[in-house]
């Protein structure tokens, strides 16, 4: 069964345009606050370690996803990480072509669960899994306590 009467002239269909306005401020949270302060004030990348099962988390968590216990111990990340996966981005968020392609990757750290999805500061032909990288931070004083305080990861 279908509607007994249908519009046959599609031009008579109407639309109502609009946008879904919204504006947000997100707090970093309890674990996130300490992480971003260490990054901003001391240029350090920190993770947390579960004293119950030993799992180390980056970015740090207040709780252990594995054993669901509260996590208290903080540990500094090794200076070097490894690119777990990489991709070359040619299109901006709004769909326009980027003037130059960018390399992005998932950076992991030995002994830690998780990692950072971040920009790889290399030419696209060098962006590949297995590349050893270090975080390049914005200069002290210009950091705001955000993930963008890391400019990217370079070999």
């Amino acid at each position: 069964m279908t509607f007994t009467e249908r519009t046959t002239d599609a031009r008579s269909f109407r639309h109502w345009p609009g946008n879904v306005e919204a504006d947000y401020i997100y707090t970093s949270g309890i674990a996130g606050e300490r992480f971003f302060r260490e990054l901003r004030d001391h240029g350090r990348l920190m993770g947390t370690r579960c004293s119950e099962c030993g799992t180390q988390w980056v970015p740090p968590k207040l709780f252990c996803e594995e054993c669901f216990k509260e996590v208290h111990d903080w540990v500094e990340l090794p200076r070097e990480g490894t690119v777990g996966a990489a991709c070359i981005v040619g299109v901006a968020l709004d769909g326009s072509r980027l003037s130059a392609p960018e390399a992005w990757g998932l950076v992991r750290f030995a002994g830690f669960r998780g990692g950072f999805v971040h920009r790889l500061l290399v030419t696209p032909d060098r962006a590949r899994a297995g590349l050893r990288v270090r975080a390049v931070l914005k200069p002290e004083g210009t950091r705001t306590g955000a993930i963008t305080d890391i400019r990217g990861f370079s070999p």
């Binding site: 069964m1 279908t2 509607f3 007994t4 009467e5 249908r6 519009t7 008579s12 269909f13 109407r14 639309h15 109502w16 345009p17 609009g18 946008n19 879904v20 919204a22 504006d23 947000y24 401020i25 997100y26 707090t27 970093s28 309890i30 996130g32 606050e33 971003f36 302060r37 901003r40 509260e70 705001t144 306590g145 955000a146």
Partner: protein, 173 residues
């Protein structure tokens, strides 16, 4: 009960703390644009509004005149059958006198808003709209009202083609 709430007493923040850098935050303003298709029933409804008329749909199974119009009857769960013009007069079913705007900001000149059931549709069938040409002390449930249309040349096919509903003098019960 939640005795161990003492373990996580909660970190309360004040209204300014999100802005003044007491804690680290991220700000984000999504930019989501839409064009909502009006569909079969609403496209005709909007076209009729532009002509200064209100239109409904009749379900021959339950006999209801459905307003706002829809192509299906949600009670009988079958297609509706015919277009029926209804009047631009009706009754205030309920209302509010609002001192809040859309964003919950305070306003001094109140908005009179409510539900009008329209004459010619089945009982209680109506729309939400503004009220005008009446004082806050005059408005009441049961009041007879009539649409105040915008001039024909400024109508665009929108519920706002009706500026507001105003008292229908002389026939008030």
């Amino acid at each position: 009960m939640t005795a161990n709430i003492a373990r996580w007493p909660g970190a309360e923040l004040g209204s300014k703390d999100l802005e003044n850098g007491k804690v680290t935050t991220q700000r984000y303003r999504p930019d989501a644009k839409f064009a909502w298709s009006a569909g079969e029933a609403m496209s005709r409804f909007l076209a009729e509004l532009q002509q200064g008329r209100l239109i409904a749909r009749e379900c021959k199974n339950c006999g209801r005149i459905l307003f706002p119009p829809r192509m299906f009857c949600e009670e009988c769960f079958r297609p509706t059958d015919e277009w029926v013009y209804v009047k631009d007069t009706g009754t205030i079913e309920t209302y509010s006198i609002s001192y809040l705007d859309t964003d919950a900001r305070r306003i001094t000149e109140p908005i009179l808003v409510g539900v009008v059931s329209v004459d010619g549709a089945s009982p209680k069938m109506g729309i939400m709209h503004y009220f005008g040409e009446m004082a806050t002390g005059e408005i009441r449930i049961g009041m007879k009202v009539q649409a105040k249309w915008r001039p024909a040349e400024s109508r665009v096919g929108s519920v706002l083609d009706i500026e507001y509903f105003r008292p229908l003098h002389g026939v008030d019960r």
